[in-house]
Symmetry: C2
Subunit: 447 residues, 2 copies
């Protein structure tokens, strides 16, 4: 891996933006554009104007049906990202998909094909689904315990890598006059594991970047082990610089322990930018897009979300971090709850300060374009993070603002590129080309 | 359904073309273009120039690894068709996928999204996988008996239709100021069947054409029942006009018996065109692309494929059809074997005649552009078929020849359109918009 010269930025563009309560503030776009594929193509074009490394689609294969909410996940991301790949050049594509509800062969084939269609721009964010509303759409089998889900996710990615490497046209030898291709360039994988039994080879050859980049989220013990084994881009909640150092060390130490090069792991946490012409105006926009309406509203929400007794609550007293430690066994994602605990462990903060440091579980960076750019550069320059997954509260407007006002500051500071240069997404992230696997077995004729 | 004014034509464009032995005769294209997505986009553009209704991708999720063969199925058709939809207007898209190895929720979501991306151009060809080489890539569970595979395929399509209709934005009522959408436009399906248990609703709304068109192949008893229940476009082997009438009646009678309008079923068999400047030249090209090299070669292959004793074989004796009846219980697709039996049942033919009537299990139409066009019009004008799935032996050349030489004859005869007119693929096939299902259940809040 070569030196990471630039700040890496992905951009989340689901539905109306990251914050569920922001949509009433929306002034641009059509009410139902969240089910219009062209809307996501347009957002990707705006993101490309901002030289983002990749558009990021989180996912959840179930309809969120709250009356006043917005369906955060609708059109299938595999299809939408393929449509974007075919129409928008350069920009990378982060696909979120479940290791619980996809068969490895079909998934390896579809993703390798998309990696070829996009000419090496695919990043895969594997999640081990945990939501009962999702399970109800997939046969309603009892939810396996977290440890088993992570074991399955680990083997799922093991198999993906075996399949992605099972046919490599670079291995072709001399092609006889009676041959269209060298069938020795493909080999069976004969995988027989705890969860999957797959013969292979995959019927799609290796892509230009060797294989899609693996993104990974999840800060539970199982999630950290999976990140250490397979993760290349780690999507996480980092609310303070110290938390960034601590988290990065934790993941990289585990990677070293199993023999991986720790430089192959990049920490790219979520960040929620709120940009306005003044700091005060950004505070007001924060109150608007959070749906709380005021600083008191932010504090009221903080009390409620954290189960604090409002009687005697002092918003200007230093908070005790232990009060905010999530239960490792709870059904919801552990990682999303760790951020606040980590923040309060590393910095002494009051509730009034804390509500301005985080929004939607991620770090909130709030202020003028210059202030937001400085806040982003700060953690990155010190090595606490390798980049960010920017989560604009409201799209298109907060995306457009970021592209038009924050990106030029980053470019002027020399920490961010002014254009694309034809590299794969793997190269843009400074990640090495995976070594082609040696054929494990001579080809067994299967046709 | 309105009157079917025009001949409908789909076009198969897998790899180097339909016939496995044709590739050595190829003069256009690059050796490895069968793994290049742009190649399929270019083929689709040629097909669009020919005003084809749809490009058809057959599929098989396993690598065919014969040394001198060509991998007929490589890049994933769901992804390739999405890339085509994003880049080539107008033309429809036939996706082949297995009901055995896809989960209904993901598959319904991905296909409905592609139907939206393509603005109502998707046709789905559901197959119940039967090949051991495929099973080995999906956990190697013992192959279920054919009856169970068809029962599962039937329920799979039942569920697809329930999911595709579970969220319809046309059902939106008054949208309150606190609402982005009307969550009452979606309803749970609460499907609990023999094979699938799925709550719903799907998180993708109904598409412009209501739902993708259902294509169906398979002439076994289970296949015919599935076609009668769900099929709209029936892909089959029809080698004689009489066989077309007989097959159409058989499927439509079953449809009537279960209360369907038989006009909702269109017979669109495969056909292999071999076009040259003279009939004699077409015979020679047949011998070339079939890989047999001569008429004697064709006869030798016929003897071998049908297990005939060469001793005393008379290529000019009338064949006994009973000798060619496939076993209903054999593991390979019954439908592919029925064509020759049907042909010989309806016409008295010698082996020398029979080898010129069929190639790759489908009807062979061979001759000058005028002769090929007449042969296609003949069966269609008499109502034996509603259209064809054209399977050019070698692409791009046989596709280009068909588009440049046969299509203009069909257009001049007034049986084929000269351009597209913005209709959905469902409308082009004269199929009615499916009725929106009444919401079966009030919305259960799942978010």
């Amino acid at each position: 891996m070569s030196h990471q010269r630039y700040l890496n930025l992905n951009i989340g563009i689901n539905s109306t933006g990251y914050l569920a309560s922001a949509w009433p503030a929306r002034k641009v776009g059509n009410r139902l554009d969240f089910v219009d594929p062209d809307y996501y193509v347009r957002l990707s074009e705006i993101a490309r104007r901002g030289v983002f490394d990749a558009v990021f689609f989180s996912d959840h294969p179930a309809l969120m049906t709250e009356r006043t909410g917005r369906p955060f996940h609708s059109l299938d991301p595999l299809i939408i990202l393929t449509a974007i790949a075919a129409q928008v050049p350069d920009i990378g594509l982060v696909l979120t998909a479940s290791s619980t509800y996809n068969s490895p062969y079909n998934f390896a084939r579809r993703t390798q094909t998309l990696d070829i269609v996009s000419n090496g721009r695919l990043i895969i964010n594997i999640v081990s689904s945990f939501n009962p509303a999702v399970a109800a759409n997939f046969g309603n089998a009892p939810l396996p315990p977290r440890a088993e889900r992570y074991a399955k996710a680990t083997e799922f990615i093991d198999v993906l890598k075996e399949l992605w490497n099972s046919w490599d046209l670079a291995r072709e030898g001399v092609i006889g006059p009676d041959q269209l291709w060298d069938n020795q360039s493909a080999h069976a994988i004969d995988h027989n594991g705890q969860f999957f039994s797959i013969k292979g080879p995959l019927n799609v050859p290796r892509s230009r970047q060797g294989q899609p980049v693996i993104a990974q989220a999840g800060a539970s013990e199982g999630g950290l082990d999976l990140a250490a084994r397979h993760g290349e881009i780690i999507y996480c909640n980092i609310l303070s610089k110290q938390a960034g150092f601590a988290f990065g060390s934790k993941v990289r130490d585990r990677a070293i322990a199993i023999g991986r090069d720790p430089r192959e792991i990049l920490i790219v946490p979520g960040v929620v930018p709120i940009v306005a012409e003044s700091y005060e105006a950004a505070l007001r926009r924060h109150e608007l897009v959070s749906g709380t309406g005021s600083e008191d509203g932010l504090l009221t929400r903080f009390i409620k979300e954290n189960g604090i007794d409002p009687a005697g609550f002092d918003p200007d007293a230093i908070l005790d971090p232990e009060r905010f430690l999530p239960d490792q066994n709870r059904i919801l994602a552990v990682g999303m709850g760790m951020g606040l605990y980590d923040l309060l462990s590393h910095e002494k903060l009051t509730a009034r300060q804390a509500v301005r440091r985080t929004e939607g579980f991620h770090r909130l960076v709030l202020g003028t374009p210059q202030q937001v750019a400085e806040a982003l550069i700060d953690y990155w320059q010190d090595g606490a993070v390798d980049g960010y997954t920017v989560q604009p509260p409201l799209v298109p407007e907060d995306l457009t603002t970021f592209v038009d006002e924050v990106i030029p500051v980053l470019q002027d500071r020399g920490v961010y590129p002014r254009g694309y240069d034809g590299r794969t997404i793997r190269e843009r992230y400074g990640l090495g080309l995976p070594q082609p696997l040696a054929p494990q077995l001579a080809l067994a004729a299967t046709a």
